[in-house]
């Protein structure tokens, strides 16, 4: 070999070794020798991430045995699953409530029942609507980080005076439809200038329309997405699509700015009302504090007054992936987050209500959201509902979104769209029962 080749080869190998070294050290997590390091992956960034960081820092200061390393991970759900499969999961993973059923069926989560019992966490400690969804197939799979309830937000200045207060705003769906007709402004060529209400905005809970009409997506072991209530809900969606026109709606909505910007359709006055979570108030404070608004429970169909005061409940949750190296220490951190003062600080930081049964007066009075008591009441309402507790929850949500889009675009009738979803979900559920649940 010529000296040149040898030099070249040496250089290549040196570069490789160097690159490898840098590469590998960046993978191995910086640990603190004297403490047990608990690796915590969370989805949040920005202000919400900062609030959690404060909690982590407080925990790290509160004792000298455990050090929680807080990492912000994009796509945290899939990454957690991949890392668990790869045998190197984080000790704590902050995912979404509706995923824990599939994750626990897949054997990806640690059952927290025993540890929770030992540390005094149980049904009495939490609001029922938040505790129950965490329990599934005889196990406890997660603890809440921050929860939410959902309500209709109304722009005081964009609805007629007769509707402009929580007391006088329509209580029923029919009243909402009436309001929508009065408020919406459509120009002669069909361009929408202002929408009273748009079912497709923000479009995050397409599965929840049926439940708002008193329907269920599953009934025990049966999928019921095409139940009469669900069809009724989608017929209601179709009515809005027909009134506004699918093309016109698409064009109108493509001009909506992001929800965390002043160009948000609600803040910029493109929609007069919007179904959204408790956090909306916090975003309004930050991006357009002079917005005049109030919140009311989402209306109920006039023939179902029993549904009054309903909301869909969602939660961000903390889990311990199976195979985590320090589950005990991880739980200790999670327990710390559940302390009433810590939890209330975090929830207020996120502009959300608290998942705990006990809520201090201080929390209500200092909360960023002036309607926090309403959201708290919605969370405690027996009419409120959560995502279906089933392993194919994601697929149900996906299918409902597709069905929603088909109905909203006028491609299928509500019945057709939901029958198709039902057929597909039944097949998926059957396979899931055979393959995952071994039935």
């Amino acid at each position: 070999m010529s000296p040149k080749t040898i030099a070249g080869l040496t250089l290549t190998f040196a570069a490789m070794a160097g690159a490898l070294y840098i590469g590998e050290t960046s993978v191995s997590r910086s640990a603190r020798q004297d403490r047990v390091t608990v690796v915590y992956w969370e989805k949040w960034t920005g202000a919400e991430g900062e609030e959690m960081r404060k909690v982590v820092d407080a925990f790290n200061r509160s004792q000298d045995r455990i050090f929680v390393q807080y990492l912000s991970i994009s796509g945290v759900d899939q990454k957690t699953m991949l890392a668990t499969a790869g045998g190197n999961p984080p000790d704590v993973a902050g995912i979404w409530l509706d995923q824990i059923y599939q994750f626990s069926d897949a054997g990806a989560l640690t059952d927290l029942t025993q540890m929770a019992k030992e540390s005094g966490l149980g049904p009495d400690y939490y609001i029922k609507g938040y505790w129950d969804p965490l329990n599934y197939r005889g196990g406890l799979w997660a603890l809440p980080s921050t929860p939410a309830s959902i309500a209709l937000h109304v722009r005081t200045d964009l609805v007629p005076a007769k509707y402009a207060s929580p007391e006088t705003f329509p209580k029923t769906i029919e009243g909402l439809d009436e309001m929508n007709k009065e408020v919406s402004k459509i120009s002669k060529d069909g361009t929408i200038e202002l929408a009273g209400f748009l079912p497709s905005n923000p479009g995050w809970w397409n599965w929840a329309w049926g439940p708002y009409f008193g329907g269920q997506l599953i009934d025990g072991d049966k999928i019921t997405v095409n139940s009469p209530e669900n069809i009724r809900a989608f017929e209601w969606v179709a009515k809005y699509a027909k009134m506004f026109g699918p093309k016109e709606m698409q064009s109108f909505q493509s001009g909506f700015g992001n929800f965390s910007s002043p160009q948000d359709p609600f803040m910029s006055g493109k929609v007069a009302t919007e179904l959204n979570g408790v956090w909306k108030g916090g975003y309004i404070n930050v991006y357009k504090p002079d917005t005049k608004w109030f919140a009311v429970p989402f209306p109920y169909p006039s023939d179902r007054p029993d549904l009054a005061g309903h909301s869909n409940l969602s939660q961000d949750v903390l889990t311990i992936p199976r195979g985590a190296k320090h589950p005990k220490e991880a739980f200790e951190f999670m327990r710390f987050v559940q302390r009433q003062d810590i939890m209330e600080g975090l929830c207020n930081g996120h502009g959300k209500n608290s998942p705990l049964a006990q809520v201090s007066e201080h929390f209500f009075q200092n909360h960023k959201n002036k309607y926090i008591r309403l959201f708290d009441a919605l969370a405690r309402s027996p009419k409120s509902f959560s995502p279906p507790k089933i392993g194919i929850n994601q697929q149900i949500s996906n299918e409902m979104t597709v069905a929603f889009q088909e109905v909203n675009n006028g491609d299928k009738t509500p019945k057709q769209a939901l029958d198709d979803a039902e057929t597909r979900l039944n097949a998926l559920w059957k396979t899931y029962q055979e393959q995952v649940l071994n039935k």
Binding site: Q78, M81, L82, T84, A85, Q102, A106, G107, A108, K247, Q250, S251, F252, Q253, S254, G255, R322, Q394, Q395, N398, T401, V402, Q405, E406, N409, D411, D420, R424, A427, T431, E434, Q435, V436
Partner: protein
């Protein structure tokens, strides 16, 4: 050097590939064939279930839809991309000033990471404040809502892929530079015009490269993933941009159905193989190979 020694050295030289072939191709292929007959979640060992996965695929409307979408995309993107790439390559094969600049300009899009491409185009194609539509409106054309309308969403992706035809373009460019000048001179003596020269000299001379690029383009189109993944989460609107690889990816990594995902992969493989064989057969008569 005797034969046996040469054979030994030859195999030694080829060893990386022999290993690579075995580890990264042969094994995964056989394993994926096996997995496609099993129920295999990411966290649990595979369990033999016979042809169930394939049976399920036959009746799986979303799979059929994703297959339809992929073929639609392929039929749109491959011809458009080929015509675009050949046309550009011919333009860039001229000897004008600043050709390096032009070449870089047209190759640029192939340099952009897919994700950046997706984000960039989410913007260009936005129905309301998008770049494209504002230009169209200037021209008094009432523009469609590219990304929100199921019938236009796939065309959005096809247009993006055409915009990124630079990779094929440089290969054509290289092929064009290889066409002997004497052939053109002879054609010119016969009084051939530009179109005749293109038809009778250029295209036959680069036909093997066209075949190569079309095959590569087809294989690429069948695997389209990153741009739709970024631009159209979940294949929105109404799964009109949900492709083979999207469905395979979701099954493998979102629903933890590795076995089912492998079956999808195998169907995809068979389709690729069929399309390749058809192309080879069809091209047999049209591709001109230099005998040297």
């Amino acid at each position: 050097m005797n034969r046996r020694r040469e054979a030994r050295v030859g195999i030694l030289f080829a060893l990386p590939w022999i290993l690579g072939f075995g580890i990264f191709l042969l094994y995964p292929i056989l394993a994926s064939l096996y997995y496609s007959f099993t129920n295999y979640s990411i966290l649990r060992a595979p369990k033999w279930i016979g042809v169930s996965n394939y049976q399920e695929l036959v009746g799986d409307k979303v799979f059929i839809q994703s297959m339809g979408n992929t073929l639609y995309y392929l039929i749109g993107a491959v011809p458009l991309g080929s015509v675009g790439a050949i046309g550009l390559a011919m333009l860039l094969n001229t000897k004008v000033k600043g050709i390096a600049f032009y070449r870089t300009l047209f190759y640029l899009p192939s340099l952009v990471p897919m994700v950046a491409l997706g984000t960039l185009f989410m913007w260009v194609f936005n129905g309301d404040y998008g770049l494209l539509n504002s230009v169209l409106r200037e021209m008094h054309i009432s523009p469609p809502n590219w990304m929100g309308d199921p019938s236009w969403a796939k065309w959005t992706l096809i247009m993006i892929s055409t915009w990124g035809c630079g990779q094929a373009m440089v290969i054509y460019l290289a092929a064009l530079q290889d066409v002997p000048v004497s052939l053109y001179e002879a054609a010119e003596l016969d009084g051939a015009r530009l179109w005749q020269k293109t038809r009778n000299v250029t295209l036959p001379m680069i036909s093997p490269v066209i075949l190569f690029n079309v095959l590569m383009g087809m294989i690429g189109a069948l695997q389209v993933f990153a741009v739709p993944y970024v631009m159209f989460p979940g294949g929105a609107p109404a799964r009109s941009t949900y492709f083979f690889t999207s469905y395979l990816y979701d099954n493998a990594f979102q629903y933890q159905r590795m076995g089912y995902a492998s079956a999808i992969g195998w169907v995809m493989f068979v389709i690729t193989l069929t399309l390749t064989l058809i192309s080879l057969k069809v091209s047999d008569r049209h591709v001109h190979y230099e005998r040297s």
